[in-house]
């Protein structure tokens, strides 16, 4: 027969036991995230003050040089400006298209189901294939130009001319991205209470008024989610640009991530690349926080 254990000791033992099982259960996930996500953030900051070439460990410290360099590097500045334009225009267009098309597809008919599958397909195909596909369509000898020359018209330099390419690229990116927004807005519309719309109708609200006064306010949290997701996604756009234009012509369509990866791996300046990564990370965090706060204010205004 085991000796009697005082209740206090028993409780403490159970607490230690619970702590141990919790550690065993949470440990692996926490270690993996710490090792490959959290600690790397710190290492990125450290590397941004070094001249790491990807091989020499430890790299030598260079102080603020990478940061001084990047604010006057025309390539970095241009990529940052271009990425900003893509993110701002893309977020607005993807959300306008997403919401507009979701409103059109909201009823459950087979046509709408097919449309949903079609609109979301680019997300599943993936950016590398989409980039190559659009390059085959809009390239100098691509599908569209074949049709143009066959009908006696001039070729269009969609991807060959710097100005054209800078317009074509965001359009392709929007084509590839807005499907996600359609699906998310559709999910948001599902939460819309039909009796609210009915009540608005009885009060004499037309479709326009019921959209602005009933649907949009209810959708406020969905709008926040879509705006934040689109903005973050567009700020780090890379693969589709790589496959579509390879950053060209003459580097005009390089985005921020494009520049980070070229600097780091084609030129082996990983310290400089890390400094650019740190800046991008900060931008993404600030954009997320600011957008969420701004939207929270308007969500509250609506609720009031």
């Amino acid at each position: 027969m085991p000796p009697a254990v005082p209740a206090v000791v028993r409780r403490r033992r159970r607490a230690t036991g619970a702590f141990l099982t919790d550690t065993v259960m949470i440990g692996p996930a926490l270690v993996l995230v710490a090792l490959f996500v959290l600690i790397p953030i710190g290492i990125a900051v450290y590397l941004s003050f070094t001249d790491w070439d990807g091989f020499t460990i430890p790299p030598s410290l260079v102080g603020m040089r990478n940061y001084e360099l990047l604010v006057q590097d025309p390539e970095v500045v241009r990529a940052a400006a271009y990425t900003t334009v893509i993110a701002v225009v893309g977020t607005l267009v993807c959300n306008a298209l997403g919401l507009g098309i979701a409103l059109m597809l909201n009823r459950n008919t087979w046509v709408n189901t097919v449309m949903r599958v079609l609109v979301f397909a680019p997300y599943v195909v993936g950016p590398i294939i989409l980039g190559f596909l659009w390059a085959s369509i809009l390239g100098t000898n691509g599908a569209v130009n074949s049709v143009l020359t066959a009908s006696g018209a001039e070729r269009m330099p969609f991807l060959a001319d710097p100005v054209w390419a800078m317009v074509t690229t965001p359009l392709v990116i929007i084509w590839a991205s807005f499907g996600v927004n359609v699906i998310l807005y559709l999910a948001g519309l599902q939460t819309l209470d039909a009796s609210l719309l009915e009540a608005a109708k009885i009060d004499g609200a037309g479709p326009w008024v019921s959209f602005w006064r009933v649907k949009l306010p209810v959708l406020a949290p969905t709008v926040t989610l879509n705006v934040v997701l689109a903005a973050i996604g567009l700020l780090r756009v890379y693969e589709i640009v790589l496959a579509l234009t390879a950053g060209g012509p003459a580097g005009t369509t390089q985005t921020a991530v494009f520049n980070i990866l070229t600097t780091s791996f084609s030129r082996s300046q990983l310290g400089y690349g890390a400094a650019q990564s740190v800046v991008l990370m900060l931008v993404i965090i600030v954009v997320t926080v600011v957008l969420t706060q701004l939207r929270r204010r308007s969500e509250e205004a609506v609720a009031a």
């Binding site: 065993v24 490959f36 996500v37 609109v119 993936g126 599908a143 074949s146 990370m281």
Partner: protein, 283 residues
């Protein structure tokens, strides 16, 4: 009356036109992807939008499927392995963690949640450089285990939030019953709770499978061209960049790379769209 009916039909025409335009805009590129893979190079250049009626050929697809460099079919193996291993590891690591966090209320639990929340917002492209530093230090750079560990770590935050939200909807009485029957906490999770989490697990698997399948930057940088190992994305990138002027090869390689995804997508579209939606909403 007349006015409203007219307005209604104008609205209807507008809506139908809009939908038709949308269908053409979304479907035409995908149609080109499939149709041109079965045409001769001359047909692709002369009538890119036509059906492959005259020059229907499977030669290009066959050539791409049996090509010896950057064979996309061979890359299926690597990608499938990554998708399976990452999913299994992710569930093994995240399941118990999500359970412990959902049922716990201590300061430690909140700290772990905060850590995971941070992981949710850090884009992987911005930490790939320091991750190389970590992998070099532990000797896993350029290896499949190194890539698998990083990709698994990237799946954990979203999966954890999905799982712990789901666990919270499972009544605590089940835990109590299992404990009275003498099951350990870990045993309770795997034998009682986990079988009830099927919808959340399905969502996570869909989300993480699509993520790993379409991942390009990490395999390209961590495995590197030197390893000779290609995933579908890095393989098709290598193949198409090399033969970018040969449209017959470009289209057939692209087709080979998307066939499995398209098949899965058409079969499981409800699950995939639903899974990705709830992943985005929860995340």
């Amino acid at each position: 009356m007349m006015i409203t009916r007219q307005g209604g039909s104008v609205g209807r025409i507008g809506r139908v036109t809009g939908l038709l335009l949308l269908v053409v805009l979304m479907a035409a590129p995908l149609y080109l992807l499939v149709a041109n893979a079965f045409k001769t190079e001359r047909d692709i250049l002369e009538s890119p939008f036509g059906l492959p009626a005259d020059g229907f050929t499977v030669d290009n697809v066959a050539a791409a499927a049996t090509s010896t460099d950057f064979n996309v079919l061979a890359a299926y193996g690597t990608t499938a392995l990554l998708v399976i291993v990452v999913n299994v590891l992710s569930i093994l690591a995240t399941g118990p963690a999500a359970y412990a966090i959902a049922r716990g209320a201590g300061r430690g639990h909140r700290f772990v949640l905060l850590v995971m929340l941070a992981g949710l917002f850090i884009p992987s492209q911005t930490i790939v450089i320091p991750v190389i530093y970590v992998l070099k230090t532990v000797g896993l750079m350029g290896t499949v285990p190194g890539l698998v560990l990083f990709q698994t770590a990237l799946t954990i935050p979203t999966t954890l939030f999905l799982f712990s939200a789901y666990v919270q909807s499972i009544p605590r009485e089940l835990d109590e019953a299992a404990r009275i029957d003498g099951a350990s906490r870990l045993g309770t999770f795997w034998r009682v709770i986990f079988p009830l989490m099927r919808p959340a697990v399905a969502t996570a698997v869909v989300l993480n499978a699509v993520g790993v399948w379409s991942d390009f930057v990490n395999p390209r940088i961590i495995l590197g061209p030197g390893s000779g190992l290609y995933t579908v994305t890095t393989g098709v990138f290598a193949a198409v960049s090399k033969y970018s002027t040969d449209y017959a090869l470009v289209y057939s390689n692209m087709l080979l790379a998307v066939v499995p995804v398209i098949v899965f997508y058409v079969l499981l579209q409800k699950r995939i769209i639903g899974g990705l939606t709830s992943g985005a909403v929860k995340g």
